[in-house]
Symmetry: C2
Subunit: 329 residues, 2 copies
């Protein structure tokens, strides 16, 4: 049995579902599964439940290590999730050590946007490019810089928070404590609020009628659909969000000078509604000029990017031999 036969278990802890997959070192996903995120359970109980489901899933497989991507402030070295928007009951949770105990395997934890970026840079749209700047646009906006296949995320590993780049230093307050953050403009809530502020959420409006007036259902997917069906307000909302995204990409171009931008996440499903104004603004504003500026491409791996990136991070951890949370023999 050679090294290629060792598998990593990649886990992506999302707000509603935990996705897990058995991954080869080549990036090939052999099998995957999905269980409900135990959002309303205390951390130890949640991890016991999760551990049981995962043990069933991997039964009989030769697993070398486990990688876990989780939203929030994550200390990679210690495997601690300090806070997570998806798991409000988790505070200073030693996710790595607890899960290592449940599974009796080395566990390597990272931020979910870092996992997304690692997967896209190494096995997805960014394959062969470096540096890759990857952004994921959803309820939150996150990302990472990947240089030569490695995350470049700073002293504590908290870098890459592109969603909290201020593009309006004296703009609206963001829950993060900053003002005028990118996430306020291109995150789910920002898009929905901008649409409603324009007065288009009324009977007869395309999005309103699609949802029969159920405001809870209004999200970027519905807005993109409305825009494609001729809703000028929805189009304008994506146009402005795309321009602000482009301004953020110009900042990133000037700071990082990437070879490629990869954009994923639910909001990116709006496609050219968002990408066209973003590319146009980037080309107009980046110092390097339109001819040399990095291409902006959609993410290629879909919803399994997170578990794949977590698995790649686990393989890296095994190679480094430096699991702080899993070297349990």
């Amino acid at each position: 049995m050679d090294d290629r036969d060792i598998l990593a278990l990649g886990i992506d802890i999302g707000g509603t579902a935990v996705k897990a997959g058995l991954v080869r070192v080549t990036g090939e996903i052999l099998a995957d599964c999905q269980v409900q995120t135990p959002v309303d359970r205390p951390q130890e109980e949640a991890l016991r439940t999760l551990g049981r489901a995962l043990r069933d899933f991997v039964q009989g497989r030769r697993i070398g290590a486990v990688g876990v991507g989780c939203a929030g402030l994550v200390s990679r070295k210690a495997g601690i999730v300090h806070v997570s928007p998806n798991l409000p009951m988790w505070k200073e949770t030693p996710l790595g050590p607890l899960l290592a105990k449940e599974l009796d395997l080395p566990v390597f934890v990272l931020n979910d946007a870092d996992a997304f970026a690692l997967a896209e840079a190494r096995a997805g749209a960014g394959r062969g490019s470096s540096p890759v700047v990857a952004l994921t646009l959803g309820t939150g906006v996150g990302g990472a810089v990947v240089i030569d296949g490695r995350l470049s995320s700073g002293y504590h590993g908290f870098g890459g928070e592109m969603g909290h780049m201020s593009l309006a230093w004296d703009g609206p307050l963001c829950p993060c404590g900053n003002r005028g953050c990118l996430e306020l403009f291109v995150g789910r809530q920002g898009l929905v609020s901008a649409y409603r502020a324009e007065g288009a959420w009324v009977p007869g409006g395309i999005a309103y009628d699609t949802l029969a007036g159920d405001a809870q259902g209004l999200d970027p997917r519905i807005l993109a659909e409305a825009a494609r069906r001729g809703d000028a307000v929805a189009s304008a909302v994506f146009g402005r969000a795309g321009e602000i995204l482009g301004a953020a990409l110009a900042n990133l171009s000037n700071l990082i000078d990437p070879a490629l931008f990869v954009i994923g996440g639910g909001v990116a499903q709006a496609g050219e509604l968002l990408f066209e104004p973003a590319r146009r603004t980037l080309a107009a504003r980046a110092m390097i000029g339109a001819a040399a500026v990095a291409p902006v491409v959609p993410a290629a791996l879909g919803v399994r990017a997170g578990l794949l990136g977590a698995a790649l991070h686990a393989f890296d951890g095994l190679t480094r031999g430096s699991s702080k949370t899993g070297d349990r023999g």
Copy 2:
């Protein structure tokens, strides 16, 4: 004769003066000199004049390589200065190859802010810290990210342009093509304009009387002096610039998560007038929080940081053995 006896010639091409120094691999500067920048001469004549002066300076010394820092858009690999604000007659100037011919030595070229950052990170205020984010605030605002002693400047080497980070996506147009750039707020011209816009440049005003009404002399140094002597408008101008600088540092904290910020350049001479509001704003806005945020410290090496960084870059080039412009045997 061991390796420590080999010297590098470090050169910093500024807007008014070219500074050069003989530098040991330890960072020690053995001797330095200064000649006028030949700003009004065509590039080949300028480089012949410069070459003569430098040959006189280094006579009889054992030089291993030459490093040159120059403002503007610089391709490190090819040693080309595409454009430089300090040398308007230079366009697509093959500075590395031309100077290598003049001096018959390998020549390694880099952007002047990169040279500043490299010197401060390795031999100055940032020594022992990584990543270091270094900014230089002057007529222009530049900087670089240094990770483990190496410049992290992207695909073309054009990264680190912190002066052209937009903090106001729909703000005033910057000559670079972007809007609301940091440089517009904390660069020399921005500070002077903000002061004059407040109506304080009038007879009886502290700065006005200091300069006997000579508006040409109004610069950040005079403004800082006026502020210290009680000019409330000058203080407020630095206070606002410091807040915007702090917002930029918060963006950099969220993106890069450095261990340390180093701030140099003429405008930084304003000291706490600028640093206090910058640190306060950074602490309030950075996601990592006030307790863990990177310290903001003044640069330590003064005006010789540029030539020192250029020399360190030359030593690196020799070690890599990859001078594209100087491997001339």
